[in-house]
């Protein structure tokens, strides 16, 4: 593990031990909420039915598994988290939780979440969850993040697995439709994170993280954002073609896709620093809404089908 740079903070006192809210912060609750939401969509959209109690247990296990990988990420990345503005207030760089405590917390929760999902719901889904945690921690955090500007392209797969795990919890396998849900998040991740990296490039540079704007410059990053957005927009409409999405999904995915590409074009065109940052922030904010709405519509359509059918 890399050296941890603990920042000075009057409120930090390692001898006190972490408070409950520090351990909650280790789980990255905001990321967790997106994971729960996409996993729930996968579960509801999957053919078949799972007892509601088992569904809740599966969601809880997936959420805890995602939180565990967040804790392990914070354990490994404490040195660079201490440098970047966005992450320097996290519990480990602040010294409120030690790196060893974060490691133990993450490992215990990883094992518990996988075993719980396997024993109570599906060993196939549990294997997918274990793979996702391992991929995020070993492949993305420990290897790709500090070694290549393609880190979030490949590492983005970890964030794309939850709907597939939710699907597998119901059916016990994966299908073309669950793979489509995976692909949508996978293709969404690069423009989402590169938009953030465009206006946080100095932070990443100071921390030595080879994000695309740091390595290839903002021009190439804008071009790549546009390219991935142009691929994402039609791909996100595919569920309407396979039958996974209904009429509402078809309309929403087309409209949102056009808006996404238009904002990406705006980012590509505005090379001026201030205007460029503003456009990138707009795309970043919209990308979150975009993914949320796509999955919300799928969730609503399938919930309606369950109610009617």
């Amino acid at each position: 593990m890399a050296e941890i740079g603990v920042t000075s903070d009057e409120t930090s006192n390692p001898t006190l031990g972490g408070d409950i809210e520090d351990y909650v912060a280790l789980l990255k609750p905001r990321v967790m909420s997106l994971v729960v939401f996409t996993a729930l969509t996968g579960m509801v959209a999957a053919p078949g039915a799972l007892h509601p109690a088992l569904g809740l247990i599966a969601l809880l296990a997936i959420a805890v598994g995602a939180g565990a990988s967040g804790a392990l990420n914070m354990w490994w990345d404490a040195d660079i988290d201490a440098i970047m503005h966005r992450t320097r207030s996290r519990p480990v760089p602040q010294g409120r939780v030690t790196a060893d405590e974060a490691l133990a917390f993450g490992l215990v929760l990883s094992v518990l979440s996988v075993l719980t999902l396997g024993i109570t719901v599906s060993w196939f889904a549990a294997a997918l969850l274990a793979f996702t945690i391992a991929f995020y921690v070993l492949v993305y955090t420990m290897w790709l993040k500090r070694s290549t500007p393609q880190n979030i392209v490949i590492g983005g797969a970890a964030g794309a697995f939850p709907p597939m795990i939710g699907w597998a919890a119901v059916t016990g396998d994966v299908s073309l439709d669950s793979f489509l849900l995976f692909l949508i998040i996978f293709m969404w991740t690069p423009p989402h994170f590169w938009a953030l990296a465009l206006y946080r490039a100095r932070d990443y540079e100071a921390a030595g993280v080879p994000m695309l704007p740091v390595v290839s410059g903002p021009g190439e990053t804008r071009r790549q954002i546009l390219l991935y957005s142009a691929l994402l927009a039609p791909l996100a409409c595919a569920p309407a073609v396979t039958g996974l999405g209904g009429v509402v999904y078809a309309i929403v995915s087309v409209v949102l896709g056009i808006a996404f590409v238009a904002l990406a074009v705006d980012v590509w065109r505005k090379t001026d620093s201030a205007a460029g940052d503003k456009a990138a922030k707009r795309l970043f904010a919209f990308s979150i809404l975009y993914l949320f709405l796509l999955f919300a519509v799928l969730l609503a359509e399938h919930s309606f089908r369950h109610l009617v059918g």
Partner: protein, 69 residues
């Protein structure tokens, strides 16, 4: 109150909260596995007469013949 006592009190409070959280998490895990067991095995899991095995398929005559002697 001295600074040292205050820090010690805070340390104890956090330790107590962590212990409480671990205890609650373990209790939740027990409830969770209990619920999962009942859901998967059905209400017969608690039926002492047959040990909760009524949800298993009955052993057929053909199946018993295949048991090696």
């Amino acid at each position: 109150m001295s600074v040292a006592t205050s820090a010690e009190d805070e340390h104890k409070r956090r330790q107590r909260m962590r212990s409480l959280a671990i205890g609650l998490a373990l209790a939740a895990l027990v409830v969770l596995f209990y619920v999962a067991t009942i859901v998967r095995l059905g209400p017969n899991a608690l039926n002492k007469k047959d040990g909760g095995f009524t949800s298993r398929p009955p052993v057929t005559q053909d199946a018993t013949k295949q048991v090696p002697k």
